[in-house]
Subunit: 188 residues, 2 copies
């Protein structure tokens, strides 16, 4: 039986979401894996209220995660210095299930660096704070420690562009590197 991999990320919000999903599934297939792409775009609406549609999407995504043998997450920052919160939720869900997980971000650098680039760091403040006086964490990791340490502890630290240059949001080279890692791990 081929192994399957849940494909988490904000990709479902991309203008080319369905095309990206197909490409991700093709890359998985090349490595003998079945890609499980979240079903946000494929729920039958059938006159359901938006709230009920949301609940159906949630349940469908949890079912896919429950089926999956492993997890690949796109943790590229989304509308701020951090990954998409839906993806963060899914990472926690999979981590609790003790499944192998692999993560990538098309933007390199530490959380602090991203906060600096977005102008979030209050330069007048003592220590690293934002305009609200909230601490900006600085462990040299790419995102909030709950996300990055989870990846480290599962032996697959977050992959980022090796030359430090930001990749396009739908560039899949780091994704493919995660698939390769996943295929190797699931074989052994």
């Amino acid at each position: 039986m081929p192994k399957s991999v849940y494909l988490a990320g904000p990709d479902v919000f991309f203008p080319n979401a369905i095309e990206v999903g197909k490409k991700k599934n093709e890359i998985c297939a090349r490595y003998g894996l079945i890609g499980l792409y979240p079903l946000d775009n494929e729920i039958e609406e059938n006159g359901l209220s938006p709230r009920k549609i949301a609940i159906e999407i949630f349940k469908a995504n949890c079912n896919l995660m429950d089926q999956a043998d492993a997890f690949i997450a796109n943790l590229t920052p989304f509308r701020g210095p951090s990954a998409d919160v839906g993806t963060a939720f899914e990472l926690g869900y999979i981590y609790a299930q003790n499944k192998p997980l692999f993560c990538y971000s098309n933007i390199a650098g530490s959380y602090l660096n991203k906060a600096l680039q977005l102008g979030l760091v209050d330069k007048q403040a003592e220590g690293l704070k934002d305009a609200n006086g909230f601490e900006i964490e600085d462990f040299g990791l790419e995102d909030n420690l709950m996300l990055t340490a989870a990846a480290i502890l599962r032996q697959a630290p977050l992959l980022t562009p090796p030359d430090g240059k930001t990749l396009l949001h739908d560039e899949l080279s780091l994704f493919a590197a995660c698939v390769e890692q996943a295929a190797h791990r699931l074989k052994s």
Copy 2:
């Protein structure tokens, strides 16, 4: 044995993080519960590298979540329209463990509303998109559906200010309402 509740949220980044933790624990105690406040501020550094400290904090927080009988999350938007990603990770972790969860946000309104207020919606675009062309989800829910549907399915929809007015970041009235719900649920 008194039941315990893990207290998730970006509160660990507040300038008054330790004081807020104490107050949260006091409110829990008033309802006969033990509050488990994340240990980000209390790890012995002992000359460890920042990366190793981050990993120790991660492990300590997971241990606390594993001990907890229930979970209360502060999902108030943090550096953008969504909750803190660390809290989102923890929500997913607890959801996968089938534990009761209770959530609040000191800012009312739908995700779309928050995106509008932050100027993230591209008014020239067709449909609801941000400046990158990424879809802005609009199910009438307060945040990404993975977070909000999780709360709904655990019979404790996100609490928000009843009059729609934004509360201070460290105002704990909605937190106290969550503690009351948790105490009631854990008794029955």
